[in-house]
């Protein structure tokens, strides 16, 4: 079965430190990969995506993600975390050929402390 794994329920970092939120996937072929962020009681906001090309993708709010085909991973990163980055982060994949149906991970809560 196709799936997305976010192995950490919560990630804690100090403000100014780099952050990484992990994501691995089990999908046949070469899927499209996405990261979303959700603030409390709000909808999901798109951060970035990988379609093809450079393995390092840059997105909104200073976030970037690195695609690793051999490890089937798409980890979200930011060089210097802000307290305002605290939120719930979702990794998602869309198998190529699909009508845009995203398969989501269960989410990782990021907490950035001052």
């Amino acid at each position: 079965a196709q799936s997305v794994a976010q192995p950490e329920d919560q990630v804690n970092v100090a403000e100014g430190n780099p952050l990484t939120v992990k994501c691995t996937y089990s999908v046949s072929g070469n899927p499209y990969l996405f990261w979303y962020v959700q603030y409390p009681n709000r909808g999901l906001q798109f951060l970035l995506k990988y379609i093809t090309g450079d393995n390092l993708v840059k997105g909104s709010y200073g976030f970037e993600a690195e695609f690793n085909k051999s490890q089937t991973s798409f980890h979200l990163k930011k060089p210097s975390a802000l307290v305002s980055d605290s939120a719930l982060y979702f990794c998602a994949v869309n198998p190529r050929g699909s009508q845009g149906n995203l398969i989501f991970g269960k989410g990782t809560k990021l907490s950035v402390k001052p």
Binding site: Y36, G43, L44, P95, R96, Q99, G100, N101, L102, K106
Partner: protein, 114 residues
């Protein structure tokens, strides 16, 4: 620009009562439309998706139904709500046939069945 509207923002309904949640999209035509449910502030479960008027695919058999009476209108319904229907419901849209484009989410409806 495209926008997505979802209402109401919160809803408290008694068990056995009907439900109707509405979602509309502006600024695009023939979008893919989706209904997701998020339980306990974490993972998203795809409930229904639609690639055109009157075309509904159900991902999970349950007490809910969906309809798409117009190109940019997607409605989630129930004849009789159960306690287990409580949750955070999210509507989303993406460009038709383009699995490489991101989905855009509404602000969500918090449904509490009492």
């Amino acid at each position: 620009s495209q926008t997505i509207h979802q209402w109401p923002a919160t809803l408290v309904q008694p068990v056995g009562s009907p439900l109707s949640l509405e979602c509309t999209v502006e600024g695009t035509s023939n979008p893919n439309l989706y209904w997701y449910r998020q339980a306990a502030g974490r993972g998203l479960q795809l409930l229904f998706y639609s690639v055109g008027i009157g075309q509904i695919s159900s991902e999970v058999p349950q007490n809910l139904s969906a309809s798409r009476p117009q190109d940019r209108q997607f409605i989630l319904s129930s004849k009789k709500l159960l306690l287990s229907d409580s949750g955070f419901y999210l509507c989303a849209w993406s460009t038709y046939g383009q699995g490489n484009t991101e989905a855009f989410f509404g602000q969500g409806t918090r449904l509490t069945v009492v």
